[in-house]
């Protein structure tokens, strides 16, 4: 199948998708490295026909796993907030940046 052209613009866009701001310097550094990995390694899979294979999402075959769904002991609200810094919690809740 037709593959993509790996450009700085594409890498910047992918990075933004993943919440990463890349500096111009980082882009200069990463672009050829990522291009090399995609073209010389990832694209190698084009050589092999696996269309009829089932994908192995796990290396060991597994059946559906069920467990009883009932109430259990869990963290208290105070404990759950234990790793948040003072400025990022309020009235028993986490505080975050605005979304809208």
């Amino acid at each position: 199948m037709a593959k993509v052209e790996v450009t700085k613009e594409l890498i910047r866009r992918v990075a933004q998708n993943a919440h990463l701001n890349l500096s111009e310097q980082e882009l200069e550094k990463f672009a050829p490295q990522i291009k090399e990995i995609i073209l010389d390694s990832f694209d190698r899979l084009d050589e092999i026909d696996a269309a009829d294979e089932k994908p192995s999402f796990q290396p060991v075959e597994m059946q559906n796993v069920f467990r009883k769904d009932g109430p259990k002991k869990c963290l208290t609200q105070e404990e759950a907030l234990g790793n948040a810094k003072k400025e990022l919690k309020e009235k028993g809740y986490f505080k975050g940046p605005k979304v809208l």
Binding site: V4, R44, E47, A50, Q58, P59, G96, P97
Partner: protein, 470 residues
């Protein structure tokens, strides 16, 4: 290996005489402090007060409780990515600085029940992203030559195991070879179990379909003993198998050297490997086998899957709730998350997030991510076919001896990934494997790796035992 040198022997003696526990723990503490003073960088977090408190608790154990304990008084170090209650656990990453878990990982809970003392967290590549433990702030140095790498990503675990002269076992973790590689470079014994044999609950994920917690010891008995105590089904991890592991030896009839992997190794490594294989022929029938698909395609499939899974796992790290946290006032969440992530991930983490996000993006997903999952099926089947005939497959663990840091700096990321050629296939297929020391080249250890069929860890123990015969 003399029985007196095993942790099992120590634990039995310790039950009769508690002063041995205190004495050994004090020596380990002194070694940790000394290695820190010398900047050998094996240890990420150490809390002497907690060790003393655990000693006090152990001293109170009654005879009945002691009798069943397999690790009574045994110091265990823990790779930084495994959560220990109240002890900073940051998987070698700046973005998790200050995170103190509110719970123990299942493996820690199990080890404590067996009387283990949790002494310290060990250094690693950020989130396990690396082959040399250089993708982090605190880089461990090889005990055989401080200008060289310990290997990665469980570098601190193998480095300290090799450094210490006292009784101790390390908990490591492997996604693509992160137990075998450092064990090889540091001359230790590392066991990576079948995917799903050991619970991943409380493990800071790298790639869920490949992460495995395992053990690194000075000998096969030690590594196998720790594996026995942590193995088993866990309700908290739905991918754990309905299986356990009890230390014993499997019957091995036929073994094969994987020629494709062997041919890609440095000449000196080949020579040391062949010398050891010649000796092994006194114990096993050894033939040769080829795994042409694995040698050609495993690395590509592995890096697509690993970066794909890693990029989703790392999406939760956003500077809220735990770890590094900034100032949210007046900022939109996109801006805040991007700021925190950009400032705190290493270059390697950024590269892997970009690669993984790309491989899963709409338009590319079928060509890369899904294709890699299908290729993985072919690669697993190639192994299964070989195991119809052989009980173990052998190859040099790493294509080189531990490289110098100055040599590692010159590698491109792709050259760096290629170093995992011999360890990635077994990891991608979820197969249990062991790395044992096979000799030395210029004073540096060379590891020999054996891979067994799923859940045949006992074959690895048999192999390890034979490897230790002088």
């Amino acid at each position: 290996m003399k029985r007196e040198e095993t942790v099992n022997f120590f634990a039995e003696e310790a039950k009769k005489n508690f002063s041995k526990v205190a004495e050994n723990a004090q020596k380990i503490i002194a070694e940790i402090q000394n290695s820190e003073k010398k900047k050998l960088n094996y240890i990420e977090t150490f809390d002497g007060g907690s060790v003393l408190a655990q000693l006090k608790e152990l001293e109170k154990w009654d005879e009945n409780k002691k009798k069943k304990a397999k690790l009574f008084g045994v110091p265990i170090t823990v790779k930084d990515c495994i959560c220990v209650k109240g002890m900073e656990s940051k998987a070698g990453s700046r973005i998790l600085k200050g995170y103190k878990p509110l719970f123990d990982a299942t493996v820690i809970e199990k080890a404590r029940k067996e009387g283990a003392i949790i002494v310290a967290k060990t250094t690693q590549d950020e989130f396990g992203f690396g082959t040399f433990s250089t993708n982090t702030e605190k880089v461990p140095k090889n005990p055989f030559d401080n200008e060289r790498s310990c290997g990665g990503s469980s570098g601190g675990a193998a480095g300290f195991t090799s450094h210490t002269k006292n009784f101790h076992i390390a908990l490591g973790q492997s996604t693509g070879g992160s137990i075998a590689c450092p064990a090889s470079f540091c001359g230790a014994t590392g066991i990576t179990p079948t995917y799903g044999l050991v619970s991943r609950y409380g493990l800071i994920d790298y790639a869920n379909s490949m992460d495995k917690i395992g053990s690194i010891g000075r000998n096969v008995d030690d590594a196998a003993l720790l594996l026995e105590t942590i193995a088993g089904k866990d309700e908290k991890d739905s991918t754990t198998l309905d299986a356990g592991f009890v230390v014993n030896e499997g019957a091995i009839r036929k073994v094969a050297l994987v020629t494709d992997f062997f041919e890609n190794c440095d000449e000196k490594v080949q020579k040391a490997t062949m010398a050891k294989i010649k000796k092994l022929k006194e114990f096993f029938e050894i033939e040769e086998v080829s795994l042409p698909l694995n040698v050609k395609y495993a690395l590509a499939a592995y890096y697509i899957i690993a970066t794909g899974e890693a990029s989703t796992n790392l999406a939760k790290l956003s500077g809220l709730r735990y770890g590094v946290q900034g100032n949210v006032e007046g900022k939109h969440f996109d801006e805040y998350f991007s700021e925190i992530r950009s400032a705190n991930f290493t270059d390697e983490a950024k590269r892997r997030i970009i690669l993984g996000t790309f491989a899963r993006m709409s338009g590319y997903r079928d060509a890369y991510y899904l294709k890699a999952m299908k290729v993985r099926t072919k690669l697993i089947n190639e192994f299964k076919k070989a195991f119809l005939k052989y009980d173990l497959l052998l190859n040099p663990t790493m294509p080189v001896v531990a490289p110098k840091f100055s040599e590692i700096e010159k590698l491109t990321p792709l050259q760096n990934y290629a170093m995992d050629l011999c360890t990635v296939p077994a990891n991608l297929a979820g197969l249990p494997h062991i790395s044992c020391n096979a000799g030395f080249v210029g004073g540096l250890p060379v590891g020999l790796m054996a891979t067994a069929p799923h859940l045949k860890e006992r074959n690895l123990v048999s192999f390890g035992k034979v490897m230790e015969i002088e």
